[in-house]
């Protein structure tokens, strides 16, 4: 029930809603819980639950996740092609999709 899916804000539709691309599927998503649909969110990744964006997925914190993963897996820098493949993409995998 608490499943949430990441998507990219592609267009602002009105003060509450935006069009969000979730793996190729576009849906109207309400952005009230992120302070309303402002242009500042355009192009950003958000986490969507029951039609509402509940969190912005930040690139910086995505890097923190990678750091934690590396730390816990004991991977050193050379071994970590994980990060390289991830450099131009968002670390956006969130739910079991």
């Amino acid at each position: 029930m608490c499943i949430a899916i990441p998507g990219k804000v592609t267009a602002i539709l009105n003060e509450n809603t935006a069009s969000v691309d979730m793996g190729g599927i576009r849906r109207e998503v309400n952005l009230d819980l992120l302070g309303g649909a402002s242009n500042a969110l355009l192009g950003k990744y958000v986490l969507v639950h029951v039609g509402y964006a509940i969190s912005e997925i930040s690139e910086e914190e995505g890097k923190e996740t990678l750091r934690l993963l590396r730390l816990m897996a004991d991977l050193d820098a050379e071994e970590s092609d994980f990060e390289k493949t991830n450099a131009n993409g968002k670390e956006a995998g969130v739910c079991g999709k």
């Binding site: 029930m1 608490c2 499943i3 949430a4 990441p6 509450n16 793996g23 309400n30 009230d32 819980l33 992120l34 302070g35 986490l47 639950h49 029951v50 039609g51 509402y52 509940i54 969190s55 997925i57 930040s58 914190e61 995505g62 923190e64 996740t65 934690l68 993963l69 816990m72 897996a73 004991d74 991977l75 071994e79 092609d81 994980f82 493949t85 991830n86 993409g89 968002k90 670390e91 956006a92 995998g93 969130v94 739910c95 079991g96 999709k97």
Partner: protein, 393 residues
Amino acid sequence: MEKKLVSVANKIDAEATLKLEKKLLEKLKARARPLRIMHICGTHERAITKHGLRSVLPEELEVLSGPGCPVCVTPEKDIDLAIALARSGAVVVTFGDMLRVPGSAGSLLDAKAQGADVKMVYSVDDAVKVAEKFPEKEVVFFGIGFETTVPSNAAALLRGVPENFSFLASQKRTPPAIDLLTKDIKVDAFIAPGHVATIIGTKPFEPFAKKGFPVVVSGFEARDILLGINLLLKQFEEGKARVDNGYPRVVKPEGNVIALEMMEEVFETGPAEWRGIGQIEASGLSLRKEFEAQDAAKQHRDLYEKALEAIREKADKQDKTKKNCICASILTGKAQPTACPLFGTVCTPKTPTGPCMVSLEGMCHSWFKYNRKARVEKSRPKKDKKAGGPEDA
């Protein structure tokens, strides 16, 4: 197994993900010790079962499933009330999972089959649209959910809803339930629900760490869960108990402040009944007085009281099959689906007896869908181990 592990990666090279997951599992095995770890999230259970994580984890590490499915813990009484409202002529609108959960006498879907107007929506906003489309009808949104879902309901009410729209609240806060579990069952550490924490932050879990239970907030990929368990094991290694955030790309320590403020403005905390568990203090979120006009319980008071009376009458007449359902023990981590005599025989996703089988994220549903082999092995005497499928059990 490996194929499943990699299928989740988004824009991440599959091989690198697999390598990382293998490393995480290796480290986890090296760190393992006898522990009972409980998660409180249906989405976690689904991910753990889907990826077959229990089959690769060291035996001494037991991962339990807690009351993390809001559909499963919605009490029969609330479903009965929703059905009574639907039968009285109101349009009852709710999430798909909720339609099939049995109340004391049938589900909302049964009521629909008998002519009641019951509709399924994806979002509270869709429910508001139904009210706008049918101004001549009373539209009741049966709003269930944990803190992840509650803010969307608050936002819709704050934006303003049509006069014919009312809200039947059956919403819950998770920390009070976790608190109860720390006193009730033997558990060593918790995996906190990642999307609940997205809203409430990591602080509400700190009291559990203070009591000596290591906590980790975890995401929902196989690697997130492996990372989370590693972080918990590290706390045990260090002899410490704190709240680690293993899901920082989404969860901030303070949570979503805007969402929390909206929740606070619209809802107030009070006791709530959890199916299979009973009443838990301060675990419910009902509408504040200022939103009385949108409160289905107040708007349809007569109907409510009539329905409640009927529910009390029915309470003793529950059929025998249902009494064998051990959903209550499953929800509190005291038993696994395989211990239930109905699981996979009388009770299947097509013919669910209890809510754990109805909800897509109920433990029984996940186990039936993804863990049938283990179930067949467990439920059969050893000599029959190689015999056919569960249907002939």
